[in-house]
Amino acid sequence: MRVPLSWLQEFVPLATAPRDREAVRDLGRVLDSLGLVVEGVEHVGDGLDEVVLARVIEIRAIKGAERIRQVLVDAGGLEPAEIVCGATNFAVGDVVPLAKVGAELPGGFVIGRRTLRGVVSDGMLCSAREIGVGGDESGLLVLASTGAPDGPLPAGVEVGMPLAEHLGIVPDAVFDVAVEPNRPDCLCVTGIARDVAARLKLPFAVEVPAVATSGTPASRFASVVIDAPEACHHLLARVVTGIAAVPSPPEVARRLLLAGMRPIGAVVDASNYVMLELGQPSHPYDLERLGGHGLGVRYARPGERLVTLDGVDRVLGRYTDAQGRTTDVEDLVICDAHGAPIGVAGVMGGAATEIDASTTSVVLEVAEFAPVVVARTAKRQGVRSEASVRFERGVDPEGLARAADRFCALLVAAAAHGGAQAPVVAPGDLDAHPVTTPRRYLRVRVGRVNALLGTTLGADEVEALLAPIGFLSRRAEGVPRGDEQGDATSPGQDGTGQQDVVLDVEVPSFRPDAEREVDVVEEVARHVGYERIAATPRRSPFVGTLGARTANRRRLRRVLTGLGAHEAWTSSIVDPSLLGRAGVPHPVVALANPMVHEESVLRAHLLPGLLGALRHNVAHRNPALRLFEIGRVFVPVEGDGLPCESEHVGVLLARDGDDAASAVHVLGVVAEQMGLDREALALDQAMAAPEPLVALGTHPSRRALVRAGAGAGGVLGALGEVDPRVLEEFGIAGRGRVGWLVLDLGALDEAPTRDRRARPVSRFPSSDVDLSFVLDDATPAAALESTLRASAGELCESVRLLESYRGPGIQSGGRSLTYRLRFCALDRTLTDADVAGLRAACIAAVVAELPATLRG
């Protein structure tokens, strides 16, 4: 919402001088502190020297240029000026602003003589924004259209006259205010003025005198009918005849421009002006073009069409979504007395009944629509008009007649200014008002206000803060006040005895957002000023804690960075083909409304994302690295529930020499550092079909499931190497093996942990026994190791694989595995005989239980 300072000053006596930048900034801070955030301030009136009115006398194409044309303009000189221009919204005979060579525009841009495509440009034709008189930058600011290079000019327009003089430009400042969606009352100048006045303790008043009416009653000209009272609560139509085609007075045109709207003619301008000033949109229809001279409101028939003012042929009453599904919907339309649609209610008028220079009589539609109805239609139609935004958020249901009065007063003023006969306002509004929005009353406890804000306001102060913004209150009766000292145990007690006062607050009609006591509390806080509410420390009564989950994730992150892996994060929304590319297709959770196909499903696995990250680094010549990610993955569930969401860690091992063995090592370190019982972890290479999702993308003969607990324990994850075929799919083949480990952290949290009790450490010397066995390839080394552990017994301190050897001396289909067993007793030094006995027992057990032979 663009708010000119001069317009605000019409309603609140601000002393702010527009050229005083410090004072303007101070006023901006007041708006900020009210929650009316100033996103920018434009200073108007600087930089208009050397900008004059010029009439277009010829438009020529420039050879080889599509976007620019040469324009000859008459700017009052002896010869026409030749200007190169990129805008196209004007025609021969139009009067536009010309910034002459040497002009310094607002913002400091200096116009020089330039040559474009070999054509000299002696200045620049300007848009409203370029010369700081408005927000419109879609094309040139067309000040008048005369239809011909030499036609008569309207009054007040002379070629060569300074633009500032023509527009009556006075220095001004325009605040660009961001209005929060709960404050429809501030989508107009008076609403903002009211808030400012209240904060600055200045008077505020909107006075709209009723207009004089005469002649034939309105009911003889037209009629109004509402067929959908739940969607249109109130429709007021006013008839004005005897209208002359005059422009708006300069001050009206100027303010419209500053607020970002283009002045068109007195009738349309008046409607727009009223909307910006009072917040009530309205729509003038040409009475002569209105079928049956009547207005109606009804739902559109499914598939009904209407060409709106913007030239778009719209389909109403039926909606086709992005997937091509069609549903019948309730779009509200304004129609004429014959039922023909003439406007999309609250959104945009129809083209056929548009006002133009020939219009002499209008019917002004002023309505109150149900916000949701307008919001839905506007969204479906993809339109966001000045009117729809205001209707969506809620107009003042008591402000319709006032808006009509203001419209008429503006028409009368325009006629007087243009030297035309005064228009005639027909007596007796056409008024259909099936639903009256009642005033809302809220009970506000002063004690509650203080308890929530941490303030010590008295009832009088609260009332004094609320009254200027229209929240009128009186002390509620029949509510126990408590004794004068107040209830000593009540919260926020300040000892004034006023805290138990209960106020009956009447919510002003323009504040649909105020629905509960707490909404009024916010108004009190806003007008006290948030910055004036003392900050108090609030101490938690608890000892803060990371919690087991966060603590575990942190430990895991440290372990993995300690192993040289960098942490990555990749998007959870992925390309559906990625999973396929990474291995077997699995069902995935799809988005209903993805933005692009490449980001349309939720990841079911971390591997594709990390491979993408690896690929990025390979492409930038950093191929040797380790990456990990901790994040959620999603798989669909049977039936209708939320997707199954689990947290995984994925570790991609792509340093030189990394392979499946590196993944085993990483798992070992993780298990050790996370306090898991390593002996409860098992690697299961006998993977049954179908391949579980967790093993996705792994090398079929160099992978294993990680199980927790002996036997058929739960699956913790998978490890091994990335399938070379997958590497090829990702374009990172031929760079050696890539190790991979993935663990489900939910399962990891539940995995068996080591006994945390201390084991005594022996003070006696230990003895090592090295044993080499030739073991059949079909038998995992893990079987040999567990047999050794079992047979070595209590005295065995550790079992460690020293070497795995294949080659000369070992028959093919097997390998030699050398283990070192360390024995130690707590209470003595083991004798040679002790150790020999243990050695023999281990050998006997292995040879008996496994297809293994002791190697010489």
């Binding site: 929650g35 955030v37 929060e180 992005a322 839905r376 969204k379 308890a451 929530l452 804000l453 941490g454 303030t455 919260p491 509960r516 707490v518 916010e522 806080a525 806003r526 948030y530 910055e531 509410i533 003392a534 900050a535 108090t536 420390p537 609030r538 938690s540 009564p541 000892v543 803060g544 804690t545 919690g547 989950r549 966060t550 960075t561 040289g564 960098h566 942490e567 990555a568 994060w569 959870s572 929304i573 959770v589 799809a590 988005l591 209903a592 409304n593 933005m595 939720l602 990250a613 680094n617 930038h620 950093n622 040797a624 380790r626 990456l627 209708d640 939320l642 997707p643 969401e645 340093r655």
Partner: protein
């Protein structure tokens, strides 16, 4: 004793002559091993000194004393000389060793170092630590949520624009109820309130989703941290004080905070909180649009409708909530010009932090 050869006591001048020889020989030894051998020869059990000492027993008392003293003094001088020679040779030997061992420490082939935590994780952990220090617990919730938790229970009206397909990612599953990727960490508030254990002081950091096209300032997937406090008599002043406390803990004492009215459906009164611009420290610059302040996040007293939706009586309990972007904070603090660096995972970026 009888097996020991008999040695005559030294003749006058004999000790002095031996000492002179010994002195010369010690001075001429130039390695420690030879010195050890020489020491055995000069002062050991079979050395003249030892033999002469043994011979003293046969002498008259007066002679014994005089010769004994002479012997002891000569031996002490030789031994002292040996020790100083030993120290000299040891130092020389060490010097040789040290020179031979010399290593150019700039001539070291790099081995891979430790990995780096993602910057977003580092910032997140720092925030977690601040709030744990303030007595908060860390909570968590699902990223795929129901409309109830993400909107309805948070008092977001049915026709609120945030609910539209334009702004939120909805899931293709879920016929009976609409599912979506949470657009904020606020649904965790509802889950915590439903848990029913009050008072409540918690934060919920995590990943959220908005239907934005990725550009230098936006990602459709990003991270937020949510704070929620519900207790007896919690006030707006408490909210302001809490924001001040954690902003100081995160940014330091030079950075101030202020609250400005705003609108969120789930809080009332609602505020945006701003902090002193960290780039210009309040004097005004391009980053803060010359205002000296930058907006960090949203906050407010929890709307009574939110408490009611989770079965908490707003007359007995009140509370506040706040939220802000973790990624945004990281970007601000490290002056990162393109947020997409976070998901690119370029090792040249990751290893900077």
């Amino acid at each position: 004793m009888s097996s020991m050869e008999h040695v005559a006591p030294p003749q006058p001048g004999e000790v002095g002559a031996f000492e002179t020889t010994a002195t010369e020989r010690v001075a001429s030894v130039d390695d420690l091993a030879s010195l050890d051998a020489l020491v055995a020869e000069l002062t050991g059990k079979r050395s003249p000194f030892a033999l002469w000492k043994r011979s003293l027993g046969g002498l008259a008392h007066g002679d014994r004393r005089a010769i004994g003293q002479e012997l002891n003094e000569a031996l002490a001088r030789v031994e002292a000389l040996v020790e100083s020679r030993r120290a000299l040779l040891a130092a020389a030997a060490r010097e040789v060793l040290v020179v031979a061992d010399r290593l150019d420490l700039t001539d070291v082939v790099a081995t891979p170092g430790a990995g780096h935590l993602h910057l977003v994780t580092q910032v997140r952990e720092e925030l977690e630590d601040v709030f744990v220090g303030m007595g908060y617990e860390i909570a968590d919730g699902p990223e795929a949520e129901t409309e109830w938790y993400n909107f309805t229970a948070l008092n977001v009206p049915r026709d609120h624009p945030a609910r539209s397909m334009q702004d939120s990612f909805y899931l293709a599953t879920g016929d009976r109820e609409s599912y979506l990727l949470r657009t904020q960490t606020s649904p965790v508030q509802v889950r915590l309130l439903e848990r029913g254990t009050l008072p409540l002081y918690a934060i919920a950091p995590g990943r959220v989703y908005r239907r934005d096209t990725a550009d230098a300032r936006h990602l459709p997937v990003f991270h937020q941290i949510e704070g929620i406090v519900v207790d007896r008599d919690v006030t707006f002043g408490d909210l302001a004080g809490t924001v001040e406390t954690f902003v100081t803990a995160i940014f330091g004492t030079g950075i101030a905070t202020r609250l400005r009215p705003a609108y969120f459906p789930f809080t009332e009164p609602s505020a945006e909180f701003e902090i002193t611009c960290t780039i210009c420290t309040g004097s005004g610059c391009r980053t803060c649009g010359q205002t000296g302040w930058i907006e960090l996040g949203g906050c407010g007293l929890i709307h009574p409708a939110v408490l009611e939706a989770s079965g908490v009586d707003p007359e007995r309990w009140s509370g506040f909530a706040f939220g802000f972007g973790i990624d945004r904070l990281a970007i601000m603090r490290h002056e990162i010009d393109d947020i997409r660096s976070f998901v690119e995972n370029d090792v040249r970026f990751l290893t900077q932090f």
